[in-house]
Amino acid sequence: MEVILFAGCVVDQFFPETGFNAIKVMERMGCTVRIPGAAGCCGSPAWQHAQEEIACEVAGRCVTELSGEVPVVALSSDCSAMFLTHVPQLLHNGSAHHEARAMQKRVHTFSQWVSQHSQLPMGKVRGITTRVACHVACCVQHEGIAQSLPSLLSDWGGFTCVDVPQFSVCCGYGGGMHRSNPELSERMSADKLRAARAEGVEYIVTEDMGCLMQLRSVAVQQPDLSWKPERIVHLADLLTEGW
């Protein structure tokens, strides 16, 4: 099956290995992975910083580039949320709006795609017992997008998912708050990292690049939290560890 992997601008420029790891997972599932040439950004960075017009233009180009029938898997959940909720609202005029709406049916989060199409219970084969905490981005939790990350990690990945109550709360990244109110934003992330530490969590897993960077930056800036930034990982990186 042919699939478009939409890596997003952050993965493209800063975390290319995560992109390659996602390809590994998807190819192991028998997918033929296509990377779109010119559709680099969903417009989320501009939208998060209240730049509506620019977000519209960038998102519009993306929708045009990704048009067709092929399923689209967005590697970062903020890109998924853009396509699934915000882009049709931003592109509220003309054919672009209808293209965006049609595209909603083809867009999947990475965890959704893997859990729907995987057959091999990888964790049971590998005998993993790592304790992980899932950080499901708010844009997935509160926008009505199906959450597949926790079940994927436990059922398919074989990981021990620790339920940390604090993890249902925002990490402080969204809405550009890490820039407009960095102190508060860092405090929110630090609370999460501290709670995960208290529960004996070894890895924090997310599929949102914004949250990942936010949590990692706080782990680096606050060494007293005893969190190694490399232990805050994208789902694709965790699944392919040791491959």
Partner: protein, 378 residues
Amino acid sequence: MSIAIQELSAEWVQRVRTLRVQAIDQLEALLLRFDRNATAAGMHVRWVLDVPEAVKELLFLCKEHDIEHILAAPGGALGELGFSEILRTNGLDFQELYLADIESAGDGVNGGQNAVVSLGGAGHSAWMGSADLLVAGTGTVVVREPISCLYHRGGPHRVRIFWAGLEQITQSIADLSYWWPAWEGGENSPAAVARAGGSGLTLVQGPMQRTNDGQPEHTYVFIIDNGRTALLEDLRMREMLYCISCGRCGEVCPTRQSDFGPREGIRAGVVVGTPEAASDYPCTRCGACSVVCPVGIPIHRLMAWKQVQNAARCDQETELKAWQSWRKAMLGEGWLGMFGFDQKVQSMLRCQMPGPSDLWKPAEKSFSRRRAMGKKNT
């Protein structure tokens, strides 16, 4: 922080939303009907356009009725209009008291029967006894019932003034039975603070029963516009008029920067007329507020739209130039995979990333370029 908040069924939310939408759709008719009923019952209804007009009216009434001591219930409309400061600067002798501190709410509101907010309850203080004017924001203005469903009893105030945003009009007290579950909350929750400030608890109903003991000589109801009419015409922001002031959004807001929550962040920008206020509210757009809103208002989306409007108003030349550069980089002809664009994109992205800018090391070759090169080699 673990948040426990009563879940409300989708059907229930739909019902509340329908009631609110109907009330706002018939706003003009309901307001006029209330005006007629209240006037016929001997109350004075005043319509005020904005804060200066409200202040002028308040000071005029104080003079007109020789008011010396004022009891003011903070929060709600009083907070919106900044009356505390005004009373202070005009040298009026006033005391702030939360109504919830001094009242014992009668039962029956939930069931749509008569209910009483007693101002002469257990917390009745000596100061309160000497006040001759009560100024209070009101949660709801009820129109339909032909008899007094709720009135203020006790307290020697000669004059009472109630302030209500014009959207707080409600067809019937029976509607409140749907509001009530949304007002449930922990004792120290922001919602409880909001309630203590009078949200929802204080009702003014058109025809007062003037024969009741403890009724004031004069009762005024001020209907405040203060930007609300403009909201009616704004199809997105009109949603804010459906708000029932339950405070649940503040209860779940992860930034917890205000007792009244993100709703107040938006209202401050819209209603009070300070456009910066909405963008000042530290919103991560997580959407937790919208999930718990009993009226189904997409609060975080409204906040995003407000931020967009405010950003357009603000003079941020440097910021805008940076975003234009980012836009060019993102829309540049086939920028992905084209040598020379990566560096520009990376420097723009780094500005938006959390933490110090040197924290994030850009890849020597981007993912898409490496992928394209790999394919070419094979």
